[in-house]
Amino acid sequence: ACGGDSTGPAAASASTKSIILITPNPVGTDSFLQLGVKGAQETAKEIGASFKLYESKDPTSIAQNVDAAVRAKPTVIVGISFSFDDVFTTVPKQHPGQSFLEIDSCPKAQAPNLTCVSFKEHEAAYLAGVEAGLLSKSGKLGVVAALDSPFIHRWIDPFFAGAASVNPKATGTPLFVGGSNPFSDPARAKSQAQTLIGRGVDVIEAAASGGNQGVFEAAAAAGAKAFGVDVDQCPQSPGNVIDNVIKHVDVAEAAAIKDIAAGKAGGVKVYGLAEDGVGVNALDTDLTSSKCAVAASPDVIAKVKQVRDDIVAGKITVADPLAG
């Protein structure tokens, strides 16, 4: 509900609806981006809109892609991730008739024609930590993450905090893949996981994007357990993955796009446990059919559900590493 309805989105919806999704990097091995693409694609099909994907390579090409998208005048321009904060601070103001949607972040100065969706993934990571704390025998936990960057700490710090909440003696070690292709180096990720296992770690959260499978392989070979992130990764290594820290990007994205298409734009929609925007598989009803190892521990599931309720009720506050 912002100005210029007659020219921009409305005009487009009168003829054909269209969605342009811009990623900050090539989608490649990034399961988060893959899910974002899938969500937008399916929503487009659902509402009868055409869909286009622009993959960017660097900040300049993000800006160029946004420009090109603006020229194409689609129903909505979706940008995924905080990499759009800078561009979406200025461009929506220059094109008030165009709707924009930023997934996973929001610029400080938000224009009225920009809708934002963000997630409290730390809440889900905390839940995974609870599971890990309960299931670890050694009390030693680890995370193999792609890079030591602030955003990735949202999967690390709450994970260890969750574990500590149920097992005060639990300790956590993060190791980072790094190197020249940190987001797609399964061999290095596997090696990091083996290093952790060599130190007695028996539960590892894999936050290494394309490297996750390497972590699972290391865990499987050594009888350790792992957590996946972003999507349900249990089928990739049945029995070895306890659970996943899931971000329902597709769900949130679909809802936001539909709202915008229906003329309800603007504002920030935050998806946490309360909104079912993030979660773990243990909370799912059809868990038994999944291949997640947590299914075999009903007591853990019960505890997780209880913690979830406590978080939703505000009894437990999960610290957001980015807020500090």
């Binding site: 390579k57 660097d58 900040p59 090409s61 800006a63 892609n65 905080f82 561009v87």
Partner: protein
């Protein structure tokens, strides 16, 4: 050590200098590349009549030109970073590290030290260039004093330099409460003055063009250029002629590094006006530039043109992805193919020799026989 062979490689390349205007093989090369690329498109079911216009539009039309220029500037800068030391026979493969540390230095200065307008742009650029010069410059004494070829040291220094820049923006210089490792926004006074509306064409363009022209002039018309070329052609000959080759190696290595550092500074002082971790190295300017310089087969004057070609391919490739539905992986395939084919045709010795033979006709000295 393989230095011997690499040295001759450089000599051969630095050697292939010659006058202007022998562009026939380059044209042939581009034509050949087009043919093969078209075939690839047809095979995978992309309509070339959509793809090529999309490529051109993506590079120069519809307001994309500014982005092409935005990519041309750093690529040309990185080309000089490689080409300048190459003239003395040294390979600078460490552009990434020089650029990243140059960028961090510029960002740190702009963020930490309040500077008056004008100076706030100029000084960070100068500091960026100096930083790049120092990072590259160390390779020269490592070669002359310890015998480790620059092609090795530049490569070995680059990764730690990038890692250091990454560490600096992750910790001491980080913007708090944001997802990525990046610095805060630089103060307005430090933003590169833009030419035109978008902000992507900045004074970086005239600056780099001016500097390139300066380099070509120095190379062709000055004593220093002569000494540099002589060193590249035969180091011992230059030493014999009184050229201080070791000092020259430092100067050219550092000169190349200065350009890489300057590019880092230009990127950081341009939109989005901050150092974003990985953003400098992600576009792969360093290796694109190397390919462009080698395609120019040692002719400085050709460098801006080969850089333009590569940039158009790169930026236009994204347009092709957007408008013609060419998958992004295919864009890479096409770029790779174009480089291979253009190199095959333009740098082929067999071809060069034929060219050289044709040039050999005039008979000046015969009179005194």
């Amino acid at each position: 050590m393989s230095a011997v062979r690499l040295g001759s490689l450089a000599r051969g390349r630095a050697a292939a200098l010659g006058p202007l205007g022998r562009s026939a093989p380059a044209v042939l090369a581009v034509a050949g590349a087009l043919v093969v690329t078209t075939l690839v498109m047809l095979v995978v079911g992309v309509d070339p009549s959509d793809a090529y216009p999309a490529l051109i539009r993506g590079a120069v039309a519809d307001g994309n030109l500014e982005y092409t220029i935005g990519a041309f500037v750093p690529t040309l800068g990185m080309a000089l970073a490689f080409a300048i030391p190459l003239r003395t026979g040294e390979f600078n493969l460490g552009g990434d590290g020089q650029m990243a540390l140059g960028g961090v230095a510029a960002a740190a200065l702009a963020l930490r030290v309040p500077l008056p307008p004008g100076v706030a742009v100029a000084l960070p650029l100068v500091v960026a260039a100096l930083t790049g010069a120092v990072v590259a410059g160390i390779s020269a004494p490592l070669h002359t004093r310890f015998g480790i070829p620059a092609i090795v040291t530049t490569l070995l220094v680059s990764t730690p330099a990038v890692a250091l820049s990454s560490y600096l923006v992750r910790f001491p210089l980080a913007e708090p409460r944001t997802g990525i490792a990046e610095t805060p926004l630089l103060p307005d006074a430090a933003h590169l003055p833009a030419i035109g509306a978008s902000g992507y064409v900045t004074i970086g363009l005239p600056l780099i063009l001016l500097l390139t022209a300066g380099w070509i002039y120095v190379d062709r018309r000055t004593v220093a250029g002569y000494e540099i070329r002589a060193t590249g052609a035969n180091r011992e000959f230059a030493r014999y002629g009184g050229v201080r080759v070791d000092r020259l190696a430092v100067v050219t290595m550092a000169g190349g590094g200065a350009f890489a550092g300057l590019v880092g500074g230009l990127i950081v002082l341009g939109p989005p006006f901050r150092f974003v971790d990985g953003a400098l190295t992600a576009p792969g300017y360093t290796f694109t530039a190397i390919a462009a310089v080698l395609l120019a087969t040692g002719r400085p004057i050709a460098v801006p043109f080969t850089v333009a070609l590569m940039t158009i391919l790169q930026v236009g490739g994204e347009g092709m992805e957007r408008d013609a539905g060419v998958p992004s992986q295919l864009t890479q395939v096409i770029q790779g193919l174009v480089i291979v084919i253009v190199a095959a045709l333009a740098t082929t010795r067999v071809l060069r020799e034929r060219r050289a033979r044709r040039a050999q006709e005039i008979d000046v000295g015969e009179a005194n026989a």
